[in-house]
């Protein structure tokens, strides 16, 4: 319910409260969903890597499944980042994709890296070996997150806008508030979907065990 409420509040703020951007006009409104979705996908991959580390380090029970669910959601949020970003690029730059932009290409690399995680997971038989392999792979991928995030800030010639710099945000007032509400909405949506999917997977696994016992 909190995810739904925050999402509704962010949509109201984006379309009825926040003013048009002086530079980009109405199309800048994509920013309020595109950037929070991208940041949420980083959080998903980071959370997946943390759970993978817990699996390898402490042998935490269920950490492998939690890592898988977080990465699964990260890939969904990643796909949405690429889609909304492409639409925004088409309005702002006149192209769906610009290969010379490091930020875009690095995010695509990160996205494809985690897409390959599923190829690995579903090509190995279920068991401790698969859990270990997937955990190591998830940990390798997390290195790409700071690279992708910093690429934009370190690049000399970029056309991709940078809103949050070392000197603070370049949006203020109601624009910053709208962004914060949208980010909270996306993070709450991730938390909700994560718990729902995880509960479904755990229930599925327990039912399988019960079926084997009763068979």
């Amino acid at each position: 319910m909190s995810a739904f409420g925050l999402m509704a509040a962010s949509v109201v703020l984006i379309f009825f409260v926040v003013p048009d951007d002086a530079d980009q006009g109405f199309s800048q409104r994509i920013f309020y969903f595109h950037v929070p979705i991208a940041l949420t996908s980083y959080v998903c991959f980071g959370w997946g890597a943390w759970k993978a580390l817990l699996h390898l380090w402490k042998r935490a029970r269920g950490a492998d499944l939690e890592s898988y669910v977080a990465i699964h959601l990260g890939v969904i949020f990643g796909a949405l980042t690429l889609l909304t970003g492409s639409i925004w690029a088409k309005i702002s730059w006149g192209h769906w994709w610009v290969w010379s932009e490091n930020q875009l290409v690095l995010f695509l690399v990160l996205f494809l890296f985690y897409c390959a995680y599923f190829m690995l997971r579903f090509s190995v038989e279920d068991g401790p070996a698969r859990a270990n392999l997937c955990a190591v792979y998830a940990l390798f991928g997390v290195v790409l997150i700071p690279v992708s995030f910093l690429a934009l800030r370190l690049a000399q010639h970029i056309i991709h806008p940078v809103v949050f710099t070392a000197h603070g945000p370049r949006v203020h007032g109601v624009m910053l508030l709208t962004f914060c509400v949208s980010l909270a909405a996306m993070l709450t949506l991730f938390a909700t979907l994560y718990h729902v999917e995880l509960a479904g997977k755990r229930l599925d696994s327990r039912l399988r065990e019960l079926r084997e016992l009763l068979a």
Binding site: S27, I30, F33, W88, I91, L193, G200, D204, R211
Partner: protein
């Protein structure tokens, strides 16, 4: 509707449809799990009935 408005609407529609598709898939999964729980409950009840019969004979 201007071109910019169309693109912004498309971007938000993409996000909305993705969330809707996800919720739909989860709902389908819940229906399947509910069916499985019902099947297993039935199976457990049948097994309990089968196990009760020899016990009653022994007591009687």
């Amino acid at each position: 509707m201007t071109t910019a408005e169309k693109y912004v609407a498309a971007a938000y529609l993409v996000v909305f449809l993705a969330v809707l598709a996800y919720v739909f898939i989860i709902a389908l999964k819940l229906v399947r799990l509910e069916r499985e729980v019902a099947e297993l409950t039935e199976l457990a009840a049948k097994r309990a009935d089968r196990e009760q019969v020899p016990e009653l004979t022994r007591v009687g």
